[in-house]
Amino acid sequence: MDQYINTPLTMDKVKGLQAGDYVYITGTIYTARDAAHQRMYQAMEEGKEIPFDLKDSILYYLGPTPAREGQVIGSAGPTTSSRMDKYTPLLLDNGLKGMIGKGKRSKEVVESMVKNKAVYFAAVGGAGALLSKKIKASKVIAYDDLGTEAIRELYVEDFPVIVVIDSKGNNLYEIVLQSS
């Protein structure tokens, strides 16, 4: 089913999303990949603040190419999510509600998603030029020294994703293999 949602990703919206749904997201989302996750995780373990409010937020696992003059952002497709698995349950426990990436997640992440009622979306891997067109604003808000791995605040319009794992733990990747 096609769905259009706006951020923040509140509980009522989470409950309406099912594995296999095609979803267009509009609103503010944040980027973080390997190095930024490691830093946020360390900060949280030390009881320090992290650069944005996790409550009802969506994280996009992205490290874009540099923007040309006049472009909002460069190529901007998803990276493989499983590398973030180690850090994800702590983020979910602190309010993160949605993640956009590609590929499988660990058992621990899925269990934490069910416990915290969160959603895992996939964007199409290798479609970074197309996806960049859906990003209307981009600003580095933290960890500038990490270059492409810095945390960015993005404003997206009708950003196309597919629900892979819903808040009940249904997993589209597994469903399609069982039915083939």
């Binding site: 490290g63 493989t80 290798g126 970074g128 030029a129 469903i175 293999l177």
Partner: protein
Amino acid sequence: MRNLHTDEIIKNIKEMCIEANYKLASDVEERVRGAYDQEATALGKQILGQLAENLDIASEDSIPICQDTGMAIIFIKLGQDVHIEGMDLEDAVNEGIRQGYEEGYLRKSVVGDPLIRINTKDNTPGIIHYEIVAGDRVEITVAPKGFGSENMSRVYMLKPSDGVEGVKRAVLETVKLAGPNACPPIVVGVGIGGSFEKCAVLSKKALTRSMDTSSPIEHIRELEDELLLEINQLGIGPGGFGGKVTALGVNIETYPTHIAGLPVAINICCHVNRHVSRVL
């Protein structure tokens, strides 16, 4: 003896890094676009449609096809009658990469020490494979490689008794484990024979071979065809969301090996299988 100045090498590598990241070689592009008609599922078709549109946007608006513009893998076939003048060849190759990734607005994805992990900020060093060949020409292939698919690649040290069935099992197992992580539809490069490191290099080289070509060895050509058919029966499909088109092609390279061994390497590449070659 023919002289070749490193300025020529720098300039060409720079241009090839940029070209590879904005426009797929025609053999790969045709497979990506052609996959739409082969796919049966609606979602699979939708994904393949997006990939075709992505290629259009990349070339029309000068945006790299994928944000992972890769680590620069460089194959150099150096004619033994060529004299390189100017700077060190290796430094020249890395200078070409540095200029290409900067001027081409490409992502800097390389960290220096693999454990300390500080970004080198210019995407160097590249990975260079040299081969000394007859003649007075230099053939350079630039193949930027993304790591979503690289991470899903594997080497198997099979026993001779495992035979061709063992090779097939290894390839199918690797593709299944890769699943959605490697951005299907994928291209599969396979190296069979040699030694531990030789088969890995062969598998990478296989990815740079045109998808319009088959192995010149008859039983290997048959194996390429059979593997493609069986991979596309796994049901992984475009994006891993289910469907018929899991792989666009299987290229196999072989080399003689030891009486005790059957090394097999499977190098997975996503549909953005980038490679540009020039002869200087």
